[in-house]
Symmetry: C2
Subunit: 123 residues, 2 copies
DNA sequence: TCTATATTTCGTTATGTGGCGAAATAACGT
DNA sequence: ACGTTATTTCGCCACATAACGAAATATAGA
């Protein structure tokens, strides 16, 4: 029951559902999720940790960056079923679509932002 | 998003999951659910109302009694999918099995209790 | 080594939620 | 009409949770 409850509780928050929607089909860095959700880094980090504990997302650290992706085949069946359920229902969702749009912009702009911050260039 | 969230929030409570498990395959009266869950009537009534608002259960009033059953084919697809997910995972669940056992006892005893209360007999 | 950056942890605060009992409501039986 | 019973609504309290900023941690680069 604890596993199932961990999953349903993880899914019972709008911002966590949005994060799952963003991860559909691609791995993302925490900072990119932060950008789209528009929440404080600490808040998003906590959200991703809750999703991870429920085994709904996998995470990986590469240097300073934390990457997240949807749970894959070696995740527990409950988690995969839950993902199938929510992702299917997010497809027609207005907020999820808007997030996808904004994610596109973030994926395009992020290099520029990196450039500005790290190299002081004028791109 | 509101509908989906209503569903995931409704599922994010252990006692509501237990109630759904009890309803598998049969319609139950509120008082029977109260008996198995071991919670105050007002609490269980609230739980069932939350499940109903999420369209996960149907309800019907007959005289003084309120009956609940799992959402059927004319419920929204999201609700039916969600039910499929949780009921499937409750099947192997220890608590859910124990609840089923206790439900059997309640279904057997309830008439006796009714008898004692309503007719002062000694059955 | 020192600094800057990405993330996490911690402490605090505001809000949400589950629990109960008491009171209100509705419907049955006398 | 009246009392009884099943349920719901309400008010309250305890606890959980989401949000933030500040501080701690970890790592890359100068």
């Amino acid at each position: 029951m604890r596993d199932l409850l961990a999953i349903t509780k993880a899914l019972a928050d709008e911002n966590r559902l949005r994060a799952l929607g963003l991860l559909r089909g691609r791995e993302l860095c925490l900072c990119q999720i932060i950008e789209v959700l528009g929440l404080a880094p600490s808040t998003v980090s906590k959200h991703m940790s809750i999703l991870h504990q429920a085994r709904l997302v996998e995470s990986r650290k590469e240097g300073r960056w934390a990457y997240f992706r949807l749970a894959d085949d070696d995740a527990p069946q409950e988690a995969r079923q839950a993902l199938g359920f929510v992702l299917g229902n997010l497809k027609q969702n207005k907020q999820a679509k808007a997030d996808q749009q904004q994610l596109k912009a973030v994926l395009k702009m992020e290099p520029e932002e990196l450039c500005r911050k790290q190299a002081n260039c004028q791109c």
